[in-house]
Symmetry: C2
Subunit: 244 residues, 2 copies
Amino acid sequence: MCRYLFCISFNGAAYCGWQVQKNGITVQNVVQDAIERILGLRHNIVACSRTDAGVHANNFYFHIDLELKIPILNFMFALNNVLPADIVVKSIVRVGDGFHARYSCRCKEYIYKVYIGALKNPFLKDLVLPYGRNLNMNNMLEASKFFLGRHNFTSFCNSNSTVKDKVRTIYFIDITLENDIVIFKIKGDGFLYNMVRIMVGTLIEVSEGRFCPNDIKDILENMNRKYAGRTVKASGLYLNEVYY
Amino acid sequence: MCRYLFCISFNGAAYCGWQVQKNGITVQNVVQDAIERILGLRHNIVACSRTDAGVHANNFYFHIDLELKIPILNFMFALNNVLPADIVVKSIVRVGDGFHARYSCRCKEYIYKVYIGALKNPFLKDLVLPYGRNLNMNNMLEASKFFLGRHNFTSFCNSNSTVKDKVRTIYFIDITLENDIVIFKIKGDGFLYNMVRIMVGTLIEVSEGRFCPNDIKDILENMNRKYAGRTVKASGLYLNEVYY
């Protein structure tokens, strides 16, 4: 029995998020079924995190303890053959028994995509937040710098969250424009429930003039969800990388 | 009552093609419903062509005779608000009564996209033909030149087609590679049923070595569907432009 770390990428449009649940098909369901179909056994999957319905992943990780009797690459090839077109296994590597997809994670990077083209783009359906007008990049960039460093992110956490320690560190944040898509990239040691979506929603409200860039400082200090901006749609969110 | 020419773009993944039919939702259904919802009347739509289930369009045209009491741009804005995320109206222009979306068409351009990345890309689901390995660009380019000009395309037409005159003229054909996507671009005065998909399928079989580049000449001359290559999937096909 060895521990393997899987890296997958998925288009979350058709799924109720990663984690198995009662009310719909999840990415975990489909991956677990695919593995069972090839190995003949149901395996326990330990993932780097959950994702909400409609959220995507460029790189999402999970570990499984397996008795693998075929070469890893053959197993990966077989899995990709069985998995649907919106989920792909990118790599499988053997890791030590002490490695844990969730607890060994040092930091994570998310991307959020906002489409600013005046007309919606039918080929970006479910892959971006359609916004349809310009965003004030300068003001958003200025505002975004207040997120850097160690802060209590209570104001940027869904109020239903039961997590007690809401202090997180943001290492990097940048906002760029590429082919009418504004890309928010945020790297931190951990993220609270809806945190990226509320951060981006608040930055968009900075662009809209509801907040000044340095209001972010006060919103953080107020430690209350009601002071931050709206939670933007899941469809623009991508788990981009997990760092171990 | 004036005649208007509409240009729309749609992601065909969720639709049973353009034309209204019994067994599923079509793009025409959705567009007609949207127009009816805004104007309160069912209108007759005359389109530039049909498209098969799963086929996309960057620019697809239809005309309607309308009594329009609001400015065209307001009408277009209202329509885009009502239409789902995978269909967008790009322009509406007033045309003369003699103009006809189908019969006034001088030529059409199609694009076909083949993804050659070794791993499938979940974000291109339903938007390309996943091929997973390299294509021999040189051989396909050499072969493609035999399509240029005026030929009888019986060999490149679905054998169920009832069209009698199968002579068509190809003005332009090119094959390029961009970010692991091989793009076939074909412009002609008209296209038979499945013609682009059989042309691309045959060029792929040239790449695979089943045909030599100059076999295309013989396949055309044989005037029999069985001599050409396979019909590739609808998901890679885009109506790119219609020239009036």
